[in-house]
Symmetry: C2
């Protein structure tokens, strides 16, 4: 692969970890960081995460071989509009957004002749945001979903795939809609449930969360995630998340019925089914 200049738009947790990971595996491109906050960008440059920076996205992408859109998903479409006229012929644009579907189709449509867009989603979030939380091994061993469409350039797809593999990720290809269906269930639903669980518990009395143990902590940790980001994910994948929420709500209703009927045997069977399914996820 031949990337002389890589531009990362959004120098937060994912963008900065991507930059650090590139350096770690020896990809010697000049890394340009683009963000809204000059002070933070200067700090990230000072720390050696990025090599140069600008607050103007269109300036930052000039001459870039690869552009990574790593801003919150709610901003990606606007950013694509801002940069489209300044992308060089042959440039590849990719992203790390948690929602694909419509977003991939919109960005794809915005790309000028000769520029390829390849949607991506590394499964490597944290509750803590910002370049301060970035690490060069964030993607090492993580899954990365790449979402080609019939329009996706085969060569660009292969380059993006190879790059993520080089950074240590396990790459899966699927359609944008399949991605959104799977992640509405395994990621978006759990986040929404975590927020709801905290509110439902905290509503009882002010100090109640203080009595929680490790189980509650683990289970509600993702309720510390950035709320604006999750609001955007919800609005952009709303149909599929709504379906997941309705499935989940039916499941809870079924459990409530078992409690009302004192059906403890049936309840234990459900618990056992869940336990067996959960064991599929490797333990840690």
């Amino acid at each position: 692969m031949n990337f002389d200049k890589i531009t990362i738009i959004g120098v937060g947790l994912l963008g900065s970890s991507f930059a650090l990971a590139l350096k770690r595996v020896g990809i010697n491109a000049v890394i340009t960081g683009v963000g809204r906050n000059e002070e933070k960008l200067a700090k990230a440059e000072e720390l050696g995460i990025i090599d140069e920076h600008t607050t103007i996205a269109a300036d930052g992408v000039v001459g870039a071989d690869l552009v990574l859109l790593a801003a919150p998903v709610g901003q990606l479409e606007n950013i694509a509009e801002d940069i489209r006229n300044d992308l060089k012929k042959g440039a590849i644009v990719t992203d790390v957004g948690s929602v694909k579907g419509d977003l991939v189709r919109k960005i794809e449509a915005l790309m000028p002749e000769g520029v390829s867009f390849v949607g991506g989603h590394p499964i490597a979030g944290k509750e803590r945001a910002g370049f301060e939380a970035a690490t060069s091994d964030l993607f090492w061993g993580a899954k990365c979903i790449i979402t080609p469409t019939p329009e996706t350039d085969k060569d660009a797809l292969e380059k993006v795939t190879e790059l993520w593999k080089q950074l240590g990720a396990k790459v899966f290809h699927m359609t944008p809609d399949e991605h959104d269906e799977i992640y509405s269930a395994v990621s978006h639903l759990p986040h929404v449930v975590a927020y709801a669980l905290v509110n439902s518990i905290a509503g009882l009395r002010e100090d109640i969360l203080d009595f929680g143990g490790r189980g509650l902590k683990d289970m509600t940790r993702i309720a510390l995630s950035p709320t604006e980001l999750w609001k955007d994910i919800c609005s952009q994948n709303s149909d599929k998340i709504l379906k997941s929420l309705n499935d989940f709500s039916s499941n809870i209703s079924g459990i409530i019925k078992r409690f009302e009927k004192s059906d403890w045997k049936g309840l234990e069977e459900e618990f056992l089914k869940a336990k067996e399914a959960r064991q599929r996820l490797e333990s840690d």
Copy 2:
């Protein structure tokens, strides 16, 4: 405190960790382990967790100054009946059950003249069960809820409180019903929700959990908990858990309405409220 003989009924995670913690802080009582599985008991004795063992609870408690009921909550009432006639005058009986309320009142009523029962619940579970998972520091820094009733002997209450403090626990006193109300929300509800969440997700397609990231893992880890234990907890605290489940279900319904109305601003406000509440739980 003067405990020459301490009997632990149920040599699983909590019972064994209690035994190890006693030794660690230098309480030199003879520790008798009682369980149903002779082979496991012999192994625990061989490992030095307990000093002697028996499979007959009534035999095990003879001469004991302190008896810890550390079997699953569904068995505690029967065990109390089995041992009541063999407890010595002046003995203190306590437990580690996740449910108090009725159970405390029932066990209290079973205790003979001169024997004191003090209900207890250390907040220190793990998904992994058994003496193999036990550690001498399981209770260090953990909360331990002690649930005195108007019948509780003051001297026994103080002794049990001091013992848990000696093992490093932060002790809180509250009524059995207050305990059950709080823990129906901060512990029992989250467990039920974790099982329901896994089933709801796993219902979509067989391999779907494989795509989950760290957030899903953290959130569903407690679905690995022993199902029989949690079935018992649910049946023994059913009214309060049912109320918690209904509160939670209303909360989910409210979120579904926001999705249906595309009320993203309102959704983000709920997320923010949850995030702020969750920040009360110290991070780790």
